[in-house]
């Protein structure tokens, strides 16, 4: 009966597919990570205990393994301020970089949306074009540009803006350049999508009702583009919090982002349980802005 209904309605399968995908490639692995985060590190293969092996220990073994799990790793994350500082640095870097991108991305998206219709797809391709080159290669290119005798210093010196080469590499500036450069399209595209939908008639209506251009921008364009702002901010903020490559290659090594700390725990210290706990907390931290965003959207749909 059930099977017949499923076959009669292929739409049902299609509806289940994303959940299946999420279960298989997100929930299940995440369950492993959560389990490891509750384990203790050990010199073994795999490098933690207990190992749950239902095939060997059966139900009793499973129960014994569960009893060994503890929250010790999470206590460590709170007690040792290396981790707290890393989280804070990640959030700060992500917030600053996202704010910079919003400031740069909004005018670009606005300009794109105001282009004649036939030029808009061209502008869109120009925004996307960098993706055709590997992200890693583009970051290495930035190392080249920012190094002591790189393109940036040569240009600045040729223009007589500086006399001595400036140290760019291994600074936060370099890291912000790399992050903003890499993530900017993720900010521009949702902003563009919401600004392109804006009816020019609404701006005329605002002008008709007594708004100067600037006022009309603040009172009509900005509020209507807020969903785009929200999407762009989330699309940038969340991955930047967990960013590892850019700070590792461009920033100094004195202050680490949480992604770097996690990498250290996992690969250098071989402490899988602590690395897993770090990842679990990171996910929890990232869920907060998501939930806030959803709340805001719901409120916008409501009566305001």
């Amino acid at each position: 009966m059930m099977a017949r209904r499923l076959f009669a309605r292929p739409a049902r399968i299609a509806a289940i597919a994303p959940y299946l995908w999420m279960a298989l490639f997100f929930l299940l692995p995440f369950a492993f990570v959560v389990k490891i985060s509750l384990s203790q590190t050990a010199i073994a293969q795999p490098p933690y205990v207990p190992v749950i092996a239902i095939a060997e220990g059966g139900w009793a073994g499973f129960k014994a393994a569960l009893a060994q799990l503890s929250l010790d790793n999470f206590r460590l994350l709170i007690s040792d301020n290396i981790y707290v500082l890393s989280y804070l640095r990640s959030l700060t870097v992500a917030a600053i970089a996202t704010a910079i991108m919003l400031l740069i991305g909004y005018p670009i998206a606005y300009g794109m949306a105001r282009l004649p219709a036939r030029w808009q797809p061209v502008a869109m391709v120009l925004v996307i074009v960098p993706f055709w080159t590997s992200f890693l290669i583009r970051i290495y290119a930035w190392i080249n540009i920012l190094q002591h005798d790189g393109l940036l210093n040569k240009t600045l010196m040729a223009l007589r803006i500086v006399r001595e080469p400036v140290t760019w590499l291994s600074t936060d500036t370099a890291m912000y350049i790399g992050i903003v450069y890499s993530y900017l399209p993720f900010m521009i595209l949702p902003l563009y999508a919401s600004l392109a939908k804006l009816d020019i008639g609404l701006l005329e209506a605002a002008a008709d009702l007594g708004c100067s251009r600037l006022k009309a921008f603040w009172l009509v364009t900005v509020p209507i583009s807020l969903p785009g702002v929200g999407a762009g901010v989330l699309l940038c903020f969340i991955p930047i919090v967990g960013e590892f490559v850019i700070p590792d290659l461009l920033a100094g090594s004195d202050r680490l982002m949480i992604g770097q700390t996690l990498w250290l725990e996992f690969f250098t210290n071989k402490d899988w349980p602590v690395a897993s706990a770090t990842a679990v907390v990171l996910l929890a931290v990232l869920l907060i802005p998501l939930l806030v965003y959803q709340r805001l959207q719901q409120r916008q749909l409501g009566t305001d």
Binding site: G201, L202, E204, A205, D208, L209, S212, L219, V220, I224
Partner: protein, 384 residues
């Protein structure tokens, strides 16, 4: 083209005030490749309901948008109480526009939309609230103030747009095809409400429309536009019964037009020998000379159709025009029946007969011989 109507006795009281509220003088607007508004002059008087009527692309919307300030004219002046406002920005003009697609702010509630302009005036919050409540009552939308535009029906949205544009008490309310998106029944009731509202508030309205019924229903005066020029400005009745040109006669309502030459004159009437409808007797036009080419225009509802024509001694029957022919087509419209009569002289003539009784015995079949007749006074003589 002179914008003033030639017969002032038909003008409404409101339009006879001395100085016009708005004077448009030699206004021209060119867009790439064509002239949208061509050296146009027009006076609008306080308290008037004025309609700009014309086919799409005639420049009526461009004219309205220049009045609102969304388009800058290439030359000419727009005078409000004598002051040239041609360089004023839209938000500096004491006009408000009701947009064709309503242009309601989707991120604001109905109240927020109506309050938008009031807040820009720096009005106190409690006063804003009062005016918004008044406006909601005016357009009968009480209780819907907290809704968003996407939670309203088309008719409700239209009312919100109206309330929003009226809230600021503009010197002139500009309406750009305000009922284009409504269905016929709703459009008719809305037209009546709009007219009542205009009378009640004693405001000046300028409406742009391509719907002549709408213009006739609401307007004190109608300006008919074509190719960026005003073809005629007149009250509805005059526009219909005394069109200035063949184009206006054909654009406003239905009309039969026959071209011909003047051949004789008697008792203030002239004979016009038409090309394909025989000789037609018409009232003598001004400055008419023998041999001049004229157009005789007659509205279908002014023509009677019968089997033998009128009884002979019916009030100076000698002057009645009788055109014999064969019924070629019958169009039943419910309230009227439109007969297409193929005249013996060659032309096709349309006559609209009111169906005044439910079971009408006097209906004619295709192929039946009939006489179409009408009195000279019902004929309009137009320049080509």
């Amino acid at each position: 083209m002179d914008a003033e109507s030639p017969k002032p006795e038909a003008m409404p009281v409101a339009a006879t005030a001395d100085a016009p509220l708005l004077r448009i003088s030699s206004l021209t607007k060119r867009f790439a490749g064509y002239v949208a508004v061509d050296n146009l002059s027009l006076d609008i008087h306080a308290g008037e309901f004025f309609a700009l009527l014309g086919p799409s692309g005639c420049g009526k919307t461009t004219l309205l948008r220049m009045i609102a300030g969304f388009e800058t004219p290439d030359s000419g002046e727009i005078l409000l109480n004598g002051d040239n406002i041609v360089n004023a920005l839209p938000h500096q003009r004491p006009f408000n526009m009701m947009f064709q697609n309503y242009a309601l702010f989707p991120h604001l509630t109905v109240e927020g939309n109506i309050a938008f302009g009031l807040k820009r005036l720096g009005m106190h919050a409690s006063d804003v609230k009062d005016v918004v409540a008044q406006m909601l009552a005016l357009v009968q939308l009480e209780g819907l103030g907290k809704r968003r535009p996407d939670q309203l029906s088309g008719g409700q949205r239209q009312r919100v747009a109206l309330a929003r544009s009226l809230a600021l008490r503009p010197k002139i309310l500009l309406l750009d095809e305000p009922m284009a998106a409504l269905d016929k029944k709703l459009r008719e009731s809305t037209q009546r409400e709009l007219l009542e509202l205009q009378r009640k508030l004693n405001m000046t309205f300028i409406i742009v429309t391509h719907d002549q019924d709408e213009a006739m229903t609401v307007a004190d005066r109608i300006g008919v536009m074509d190719h960026g020029r005003l073809e005629q400005v007149a009250p509805p009745r005059q526009l219909y019964e005394a069109p200035r040109s063949r184009w206006v006669a054909e654009f406003v309502g239905d009309v039969n037009v026959f071209e011909g030459k003047m051949t004789g004159e008697e008792q203030g009437r002239v004979m016009v020998e038409t090309r394909d409808a025989g000789t037609i007797i018409v009232p003598k036009p001004q400055g008419a000379d023998d041999g001049k080419t004229l157009c005789v225009a007659i509205r279908p509802e002014k023509i009677k159709v019968s089997q033998r024509g009128p009884v002979n001694d019916l009030g100076g029957s000698a002057a009645i025009n009788r055109l014999a022919g064969v019924v070629a087509d019958v169009g039943y419209l419910g309230n009227a029946t439109v007969y297409s009569v193929k005249l013996d002289a060659g032309a096709m003539l349309r006559a609209s007969v009111s169906n005044t009784t439910r079971l009408d015995a006097d209906s004619y079949q295709i192929g039946q011989r009939v006489v179409a007749w009408f009195v000279p006074a019902d004929c309009m003589v137009l320049e080509q």
